[in-house]
């Protein structure tokens, strides 16, 4: 009996919280304290861009979304791993710029046309270190839905995991291997990324 009562209490508390959150975010700006809301807004922004814009316009718009909603400097730093410390100030700046451009380009080319995909937000799991993970499913028109997990830190998206594959981790492995095979310096990687961005 007490279990049932506490469950009801928890439910009503949750409902109250949901209502108050809805009230706050109904009028509030896109950047909010609620991780699920942040993911939802970002997904909607990207879908709108893909629906309405093409080519260079689309890439610029996606870059704006990336810089507003993603913690690009932190993602870049962690993608460079231990090599970040030995990079010069200008190398770091150039690296971050090239990575942001590369990601924007990748995202704008990834969806040729909007194929009717929708994002269903699942539960939000708070972690101890101030990170919360938002679980979601990308529903496709055909085939199985794709599992997407978003890592939110300081109201910004810090990583996206697609079917368990972390964007930052994969980049880190990729960049690290490239640096090791090219003399252990950051410079060749930055130059390669810049030449790719210019293409």
């Amino acid at each position: 009996m007490p279990l049932l009562a506490s469950r009801r209490l928890a439910f009503s508390l949750a409902a109250a919280a949901a209502v108050s959150l809805a009230a706050v975010h109904g009028i509030g700006p896109a950047v909010a304290a609620d991780p699920a809301q942040l993911v939802q807004t970002t997904a909607q922004q990207v879908i709108d861009i893909v629906k309405t814009k093409t080519g260079a316009d689309r890439q610029a718009a996606i870059l704006a979304v990336l810089q507003a909603n993603f913690d690009m400097p932190a993602m870049g730093r962690s993608a460079l791993g231990t090599h970040w410390n030995q990079a010069t100030e200008s190398e770091r700046a150039r690296f971050l710029k090239a990575v942001a451009t590369a990601e924007a380009k990748a995202y704008s080319e990834r969806f040729g046309q909007y194929g009717g995909q929708t994002l269903t937000i699942g539960k939000v799991i708070p972690r101890a270190n101030g990170v919360s993970v938002v679980d979601s499913r990308l529903n496709q028109t055909s085939g199985q839905p794709i599992k997407l997990e978003w890592e939110i830190r300081n109201d910004r998206i810090a990583d996206v995991k697609i079917e368990g594959v972390s964007m930052v981790m994969t980049r880190r492995s990729d960049f690290n291997s490239y640096i090791q095979n090219n003399g252990g310096k950051v410079e060749p990687l930055v130059r390669e990324l810049e030449s790719r961005a210019a293409r």
Binding site: G81, A102, A106, E109, R110, S142, G143, K161, E163, G164, V165, S166, M169, T170, R171, R172, S173, D174, F175, N176, S177, Y178, N181, L189, E192, L193, R196
Partner: protein, 274 residues
């Protein structure tokens, strides 16, 4: 001392030296594995001692992929009607169900294994030899298990640690754990055993099945792999990381599911005691 006994002593010495050396090698390998397990920083650095031969195999695989497999997969995806593709997928999945059921038993989920076998029986009969997946509409959900996951479930290490990374010829990315799993799955596969015992030309059937599986699987990974290749500066390293993370995620899901279930069972038992 005659030459014969000198030779004998020499040989014995050589053997004992080689044994000593191999013991050292095993011990070294042990510390390396151990080191890999303790310093595990996730998928950022996958243990890849065979990187040079792996990269060599990878380049051959890619050549074969560019010349033959990917074009076939593209044609399969774009030219074959969707319903035919679903039929082929269902047929191949159905042939894989017994292996999944065997693995579910080894994973300690006999109920799940029973469901898989029920699926197999329903789809093989009402579903016309597996062409139609009627079992799902009966509420029998499909699962796909392999022995690599079974090992990963019980191994007491981080699921990112699957032993050394291995690029298999034709098959693609793998590691010590998953390659062992692949071999086990091959050995226990009732269809392989059955065709071997019944049909004269069993290898033709098997090659047809594995070939169809390869083309079908490749057709569903075109988008993801093209994307990974285009957006990486070192495709080999990016694929190595992505493969390791994806497998680790599958295993972690299995572990969590098992943990949740055992936790619920424990609570049920507690409730019964009270």
């Amino acid at each position: 001392m005659d030459p014969g006994s000198a030779l004998m002593i020499g040989v014995t010495r050589a053997i004992s030296a080689s044994i000593r050396r191999s013991v050292v090698a095993v011990a070294l390998a042990g510390t390396m594995v151990g080191g890999c397990a303790t310093n595990d920083t996730g998928a950022a650095d996958v243990w890849d001692p065979l990187e040079t031969p792996n990269r060599f195999i990878f380049s051959i695989n890619r050549a074969v992929d560019i010349i033959a497999l990917r074009p076939l997969a593209v044609m399969y995806r774009d030219l074959l009607p969707d319903r035919a593709q679903t039929g082929v997928r269902n047929l191949l999945d159905n042939l894989g169900e017994p292996v999944t059921a065997i693995n579910e038993i080894f994973q300690g989920e006999p109920n799940r294994a029973a469901t898989t076998m029920a699926r197999f029986l329903v789809n093989s009969t009402i579903g016309v030899a597996g062409l139609f997946d009627v079992a799902t509409s009966f509420g029998l959900e499909r699962t796909k298990e392999d022995f690599g996951k079974t090992i990963g479930l019980w191994a007491g290490v981080e699921p990112e640690n699957g032993g050394f990374y291995l690029m298999l010829p034709a098959y693609g990315p793998s590691n010590a754990r998953d390659a062992t799993g692949l071999m086990m799955d091959y050995l226990v596969d009732p269809f392989r055993i059955l065709t071997y015992n019944l049909a004269v030309d069993w290898d033709v059937w098997q090659i047809g099945r594995y070939g169809a599986n390869a083309v079908d699987y490749r057709s569903r990974t075109i988008f993801a792999l093209d994307d990974l290749e285009k957006n990486s500066v070192d495709y080999y390293a990016a694929l190595r990381s992505a493969y390791t993370q994806n497998r680790a995620d599958q295993i972690r899901q299995k572990r969590e599911k098992t943990d949740t279930r055992s936790e619920l069972e424990r609570r049920d038992n507690l409730a019964l005691v009270r």
